[in-house]
Symmetry: D2
Subunit: 88 residues, 4 copies
């Protein structure tokens, strides 16, 4: 992972982690379930943004290197798999 992608991904993972602490407190303080659910959705969206960032880095570095290096596999198979795994 390049330096910038790494720094930004870590920042977002830390944000999601802090958000989860907030959700834990909400549950402990018996907040309304619908509000807790919406916060959990927000954490998942934050993770998806971190993932989009990491994927972009992966495409521009690992994928380009593998293909220009004449070894398109396993990178292309992994990419196809990531697209399918991402939302199931």
């Amino acid at each position: 992972m390049d330096q910038e992608t790494r720094a930004e991904s870590l920042r977002r993972i830390a944000y999601a982690r802090g958000h989860l602490d907030g959700i834990r407190r909400m549950i402990e303080e018996d907040s309304y379930c619908v509000d807790v659910l919406k916060q959990s959705y927000a954490v998942r969206r934050a993770l998806e943004k971190a993932e989009a960032l990491m994927l972009r880095g992966h495409l521009h570095h690992c994928v380009v290197d593998a293909i220009t290096g004449g070894e398109p596999e396993p990178v292309l198979g992994e990419l196809a798999e990531l697209y399918q795994l991402a939302h199931r």
Copy 2:
């Protein structure tokens, strides 16, 4: 939230939080991006399981109470909204 749903939800949120710490370490140690991505998907799936649990509790308690109490709104509107928000 009933006692059992709360305990189990907290357990799952704590699990997701620990998992995020693992992802942070993976990024810091420069793990392969594809492996980091798959771990992030796993955290999201863990959150979805916690959400399913909380929604089930919400349906059997808040929703039933609101409808038998003759006040189907805002509960039904919220349910429709949750359904749409859950995956976008």
Copy 3:
């Protein structure tokens, strides 16, 4: 399903079906795969909108009737299942 939900759902299903015919033609005419993919995403989003509509109708009729009739099951179990099935 109430009359209005039915009419609007049929309209949206017909729209999705016409859209699929467009995708078939795109593939036959060898359109760029990325453009075909985006159109397929659009059909899925159209179906999701039809689903949101039908769910809303289901909540306000079947679910309310079942709960006020003192028979919350199987309706609540089905709802929890729908939320999980919707995006996997």
Copy 4:
């Protein structure tokens, strides 16, 4: 799109289209909304399978050609975009 991907994608699009006709009949015959919803989910999953197939073909042909041809853009940008568009 290569010949095989095209044929198989067309087969799956045709299947989804037939399935939509079935859903239209279910709505017209006033089937239970939950059953209609589950069928709509099944159509979306069929489309996702066609998409996975087309993406795989895209990766192995257009993406490899663009990168070995020294023109990684716009192909990489499109891939990142598809990944984000696929599920929202």
